[in-house]
Symmetry: C2
Subunit: 912 residues, 2 copies
């Protein structure tokens, strides 16, 4: 044990550790070492290994201190040597920070102590150094408070408030001031004395003046914090092993507020908004990091070019700029040059755009942090591709660098960032479908359609939407609902349309009668302007200008790259010509799911549909179906033509029939009049069709098998459409998909009906067409008995929405009652409707694939649930070896990229 | 090929085949051979092998006839020799029947031809033989009709009715008679001519007069019928291989109507009602089998003893009896003696009670059929055990002989069979819970309770029942509902109570307001008497006397035998003391499922439950829960005391909370008044708790994890009850079951709550008790991830009701909309809520068992769904290796027997 190297030094252009030693030094320690190693000026310091933390729990504090003692003393001397400062010195004191740092970041879970080393002597040295007595004493009182709490365990007694805070309050009252910042240096001196008394009173010990004692206390406190309740809970939720331990990082403090030759700032190696290769950033002279954050002073630009542009935009003369707002490039040309070189080096070293923090202490540059910079989707794509061109990274790495979901930003309108700054957030819902939308509030679908025709921009606001609202949703700029989750009707349909939607905004109370909604005490009336951000879920009052995205050459190039590497096919879920066109534009290789029920709502169709439902005999049902046939056939012709050359999977009627009948009395009356039947008949039918659990009810192929004539009509529409187009020389590949199969004989019976109907049509036309028959796998039993079902299927398409619903037993419409709590408590890591559950649902997919292929090796496998557009789920589909994913049109590019990433990460997953 | 033996002769005391040759000779052929072989007089005949049928399809009719020709000719001569009759003879013609007969019975699927050999000559011989010209000519015209249809393919042309039927109608019209039987011998002679013309007209061929030609046609027709549509469909549904083929049986016709020395009858080797070893039966002199069926003449008793008893019961003098109604024993003592010996021989040979058909042709006894006789449950048990004592069969065979479901008859009251004969069936529903009940109609649970207290017998009639009706159900003699399936609330609760119930009687329309129900045009008012047969689903008007069953020594002995061989434990689902007592009486070895929610409906409890649900804060919820605690604790004390020494599995609260709130406005008002809250609050809560798919909603452990205080209260009630009893020296084994787990962390979190609460209680009591924590496996995901869940579970109990629901995606409450159609069309073989689906649900159980035991070898496994009391499902539980099944109290004996049968059938299934 005693032979283990426990302390790793860094600083002065070298380091004992490196970025590769994250297991031993933690993320922070390894990174500080790496910067030192490549010659970036970081304040000197040292890291105590994670292993020591584990040994601390095995051997106890005394034994560990004994083992560490000499190394830590040497390490502090090492820091003193490199800083020229001395621990506890009255003139030039060395202050250090003591921070935890595990292998992976556990933000805020463990303890940190800053300004360690300050005491009654050092506070004077700090005052001199910073030329700021108030700052020095404030630092001292903060240190006592932090150290007293974290290391010495000063906690308020039962029923008390925090004693330090109480002392501050009393002091402010005594001095007659309101703010902490109004306390003078002398007040703070008094407070330091008071704080020391508090420590004495609560711990029975004096506050330690000896910096060494302070240091040992802080090191042990960091070790202890590995096992505090928060940290344990965090590890449980994130599945971090308890035996990783935390490292301890002890680093010299540096100060950017020591006068006009000191400064602090942040910089980016490239433009985080556009991705342009252009060093940029801001700084403040004689300031600390927190001053930049506080935003009291205006930060200055680092480069001259930025500075000039900024002055121009703000109407400041060049003269004034040069004197009052100079760039760092002009103000400290040497330091700037060094900084420029450092950022170049860092970017080259880390091979990514860096976000760096620096402090200049009396003309000396120190880098405090470097990390990969956050960036917009646009910048992300451009930077990755530029870096390929620059030879910094290869194509594969470029692909893996892109966060697929951020491509959304490139595909949808966004709010003008300037306008957004002043906009008032009214409330927040779930970000159901990305983009930005602004329009007048309207509550009814038909009115949305009417206003839409007049060219007015509207936002359709509903408690929830139903299939009857589809035309209204289509006409609106965006959709806002007060109920429903990420897979509610509104959400699914909006995503399909690529239309901005915010759903489940629970604060909103919609009053259809008064034609208004309220949020707390704010009333928004029909006709008022609101704006929705479907990417964040935010709802704004008023009209916010939007900007349409420009999909430049970078996007196209990225997609080409993705296609080069991916193995999964990418189809789309679409049933309207507009969706299909969009999807083709985005690179969809076919339609994986066309929901035919959506075709039954428009205009006359719903009337015939209702006639069909109300029919008492097969004969009457057939009559109504005959009227629906031409509409449906025309729909398919349009769809097939757009998708020519590509497969189109058409799902037969799926929802329970009651969804086509109005549920409220008023509408029932209207429908009765329209159809010329007594309203009682409508009511009776609604009553007869009522189900306690409609999701598990009379729907899917259960309809097609109890009313085979419905299947017949749909098959006729599909195949006649295909044959009509074939006559025109258009290449059509229809695939007929039977929904909700759970028993092989269900599909067999549907197959017989389909084939018999096809035979008749082919005879009538004197021509035939190749088509496939397959099924959704969306009932657990279907997956479990896939070897039986695959015998009568040409393809399987996993309907993971329903499959998730039944595998978990979570009603999609009701899950909002407990899912948020489950996510919060860590019972679930993700919403399983968003991220495919590999352990449960995924296992069923695997079982189905293996069993299905075992009897039918040519079986084609795809997924058409919402998961088909979600990157982690797409990765799973690749690993498990599906043939394609199908997603809403606007997620097609995301799926293409995610599929490529999966192929690169799992080159052997998906090999068949 | 030519070497294959294709024709097997039987008759004259010997046979070439035997009962063991069912594959080759079919069931019927093998059995006829067997009887001949053991010396029972059967009419001579022969069987053409099933193999020949298969070859017929391979080689064609000509080739097969060629191969068969000589053998068939020889075989007919063999029959002629043994009967002394001649094929086609004008004086003494031989007639034969030609019947199909596959390895397993396929009733009515294939073709049969009777009286073959009749022609213009033979009809005269038949008239002489039978001394009945009309009979002879009627046989001839029937033969032409049957042969014309089956063999020659006379079918009505499009739009026509059957030409033979049309000819009969025209004849009746011409003769001015109403009934077929009114046609005279001469009329029939005319009709025969007419029929021959029809055959000529429809087939272009003369009706064959040559008996040989008739025979070959019939043989080939039987072969053909193996592949008719009905037979193919039947095989598909029953999974009978297509390549089994059918045998053809050609047997000499014998006639019991050839005069006073001829007779026909049926007999049983033992009493089919009581099981007593007592030969009995009935016969008719000068009659055919169909005369017995027609019931025009009163059949006479076979034994003298029976005859005397019958005369006594009907007030007939001994003189009159002896002359007009003699027994066979007296009328034909020699034949009787032979018959008596034959029945003894047959029973000994088949080692089971036989149901035999015989014909006496001119003093000569012929056995036409023997088969195992149908019998009552009581007789079934007695016969099996008597036969063990007689050394005919061993214990194992006795156990395997019992149809478990028929034990029901021994456990429940039945209607007096005499009264039943005259009773009028009003309508029929599903036989939800066996037994017989009679009482006055009452529509409301509270009134049932009130009348029950006064000692009145009532039948509770509801559209459907809800948990609020439980007391009323308990007070009623039986329950009748117009909606719901075999697992509806009414059905499940009634079975649990062992109370007679008929559910889903769809013809009934209940009108609560008028306090009456109607069936078609019959109105039944409150207070009217009705009677229910829960075993058949029949509903009768009026008061039918019931008989309580006597569970004699035979039943007890059978149960002892079952216990000796079974490996599965048998527990019960029970939560009331009455149920628990019943179950213990029936031999339950513990409680596998006590549903705690049923305990929250009585009296004050529901009030506190509602307070709990309406509470806005945890504090208020806890207050209400504190009030529920003493009730619940007392319930558990009662249950634990009855079940002392045995394990009791208590399931924590499972149903969604809205089930405890009234849904209609009237009741909401009442509750609001009772609780002293505004009715709006109740309405709001009902609204807030509303779910679209409550089965997949906020229930089970989702409640316990969102409101941990509910779990805490229940755990407190369970463990305090256990500790209180422990003080009194009572041995208690509580097992706490967490419902609806789908994610391991759900159970982990509940486990933490349970253990923490237990710790507190043990500290308070200064004592502790052993208890287990486990979960229902009822969500597919739980089964799929059982290896994760088993780490925090001591036991699994498969909740196969919910598991079936989610695996199939069939809502139990709504499945009535399509399940009957699915069963009818053969998509499903069984209602999966009745018979456990081995392929899907069963696979999940297997997966869960294997995964669960892989991480936790001691994991205890049981089943507590409705399937736990169903024999085929119990067999599966044995095969898969569960530890126990749990079922409603009245099914405990059935489960004990079924478990023993499973252990005997699958001695290696279930070995762990």
């Amino acid at each position: 044990m005693a032979n283990k190297k426990r302390v790793y030094l860094f600083g002065g252009g070298s380091a004992e550790g490196s970025a590769k030693m994250k297991d031993l030094l933690g993320g922070k320690g390894a990174n500080l070492a790496e910067m030192a190693r490549i010659g970036v000026p970081v304040p000197p310091g040292f890291t105590i290994t994670t292993e020591t933390c584990i040994d601390y729990y095995k051997l106890g504090a005394d034994k560990i201190r004994q083992e560490l003692e000499q190394d830590v003393v040497n390490a502090i001397h090492f820091i003193e040597k490199h800083t020229g400062k001395t621990f506890g010195d009255i003139n030039n004191p060395l202050l250090v920070s003591v921070r935890s740092g595990a292998k992976v970041s556990m933000p805020g879970m463990m303890d940190t102590v800053l300004n360690l080393g300050i005491n009654d002597d050092a506070v004077q040295g700090l005052a001199k150094q910073t030329n700021n007595e108030r700052f020095a004493w404030d630092s001292y009182r903060r240190f006592i408070q932090m150290y007293g709490d974290v290391v010495m365990g000063v906690k308020p007694r039962k029923g008390e408030i925090d004693p330090f805070e109480k002392a501050i309050e009393e002091m402010k009252k005594a001095k007659g001031v309101e703010q902490d910042t109004d306390l003078t240096a002398d007040d703070l001196k008094e407070l330091v004395e008071k704080f020391k008394q508090i420590v004495k009173e609560y711990t029975g010990r004096e506050f330690p003046q000896d910096p060494w004692e302070q240091l040992w206390g802080a090191i042990m406190a960091v070790f202890d914090s590995w096992n505090n309740e928060r940290a344990i809970a965090y590890r449980r939720i994130h599945e971090i092993p308890d035996d990783w331990g935390t490292a301890v990082n002890v680093v010299a403090m540096v100060f950017g507020n020591m006068g006009d030759h000191s400064a602090t700032g942040v910089a980016f190696t490239r433009d985080a908004v556009t991705g342009e290769k252009r060093f940029n950033g801001e700084y403040l002279v004689n300031a600390q990091g927190e001053d930049v954050v506080a935003g009291i002073r205006t930060p200055l630009k680092i480069t001259k070019a930025d500075s000039i542009a900024w002055a121009k935009a703000n109407g400041i003369s060049e003269e004034e700029r040069r004197t009052k707002y100079p760039s760092l490039e002009e103000y400290m040309p040497d330091v700037y040059k060094e900084l420029y070189e450092v950022q170049e080096k860092l970017e080259k070293h880390y091979r990514d755009m860096q976000d760096i923090e620096f402090t200049i202490e009396e003309g000396k540059l120190w880098l405090l942090q470097t990390r990969n910079g956050k960036r917009t989707g646009l910048a992300m794509v451009r930077i990755a591709l530029d870096m390929v061109d620059e030879g910094l990274i290869d194509e594969k790495e470029a692909i893996l660098r892109i966060e697929p979901n951020k491509l959304n930003e490139l595909l949808h309108p966004i709010f003008d960032p300037k306008a957004l700054k002043e906009a008032k957030v009214l409330t927040k819902g779930l970000p159901a479908s990305p983009g930005a939308a602004t329009g007048k509030v309207v509550f009814f679908a038909d009115e949305a359609v009417e206003l839409g025709k007049k060219g007015e921009k509207v936002i359709l606001v509903r408690i929830e939407t139903s299939p009857e609202d589809i035309e209204g949703m289509n006409a609106a700029q965006g959709i806002l609902t007060s109920r429903g989750g990420m897979t509610s009707h509104a959400a699914v349909v909006a995503r399909g349309m690529g239309k901005c939607a915010v759903v489940g905004a629970g604060e909103i109370e919609v009053d259809y009668e008064k034609r208004q909604f309220t949020v707390r005490d704010i009333v928004v009336k029909e006709g008022d302007w609101i704006s929705l951000n479907g990417t964040t879920g935010e709802v704004y009052l008023g009209k916010l200008p939007t900007i349409d995205p420009e999909i430049g050459g970078y996007f196209g190039r990225l997609m080409e790259l993705a296609d080069k590497y991916r193995k999964l096919g990418v189809r789309t879920n679409a049933e309207t010509p507009r969706d299909a066109q969009n999807a083709r534009k985005f690179g969809a290789e076919g339609i994986g799911l066309a929901r035919t029920e959506h075709m039954f709502f428009e205009g006359e169709r719903i009337k015939h549909m209702r006639e069909m439902i109300l029919a008492e005999t097969e004969e009457d049902r057939r009559k109504a179906l005959d009227k629906l046939l031409p509409y449906q056939r025309a729909d398919f012709e349009a769809l097939f033509e757009i998708m020519q050359g590509l497969p189109v999977t058409v799902r037969l009627l799926d929802p329970p029939l009651h969804e086509f009948l109005p549920q409220d009395e008023e509408s029932q009356k209207e429908v009765a009049e329209e159809l010329g039947v007594p309203v009682e008949k409508i009511k009776e039918k609604v009553e007869a069709l009522h189900e306690f659990n409609p999701m598990l009810g009379h729907r899917g192929c259960r309809l097609g098998n109890t009313y085979p004539e419905i299947t017949e009509m749909q098959v006729r529409a599909i195949l006649e459409a295909a044959l009509n187009l074939k006559k025109k020389g258009i290449d059509v590949h229809p695939e007929i998909m039977v929904p909700l199969v759970g028993v092989d004989k269900e599909l067999q019976m549907q197959r017989e009906i389909i084939e018999k109907t096809a035979q008749k049509i082919f005879e009538q036309y004197g021509d035939s067409i190749d088509y496939k028959i397959g099924t959704m796998i969306e009932v657990p039993r279907a997956a479990l008995t896939a070897d039986q079902i695959a015998k009568v299927a040409d393809f399987f398409s996993f309907g993971t929405n329903d499959l998730t619903q039944m595998t978990f037993g979570y009603s999609r419409d009701d899950v909002g009652k407990f899912l948020p709590i489950y996510l919060e408590k860590g019972i679930l890591e993700h919403d399983p409707y968003q991220v495919l559950d590999r352990d449960g649902v995924g296992q069923l997919i695997k079982i189905a694939k293996e069993k299905g292929r075992s009897v039918n090796p040519k079986l084609k496998l795809g997924i058409c649930g919402e998961h088909g557009g979600e990157p982690s789920s797409i990765e799973f589909c690749h690993i498990v070896g599906l043939d394609y994913v199908s997603c809403s049109p606007f997620r097609v590019p995301i799926a293409r990229l995610a599929a490529a990433q999966a192929a690169l990460r799992y080159p052997y997953g998906g090999e068949k």
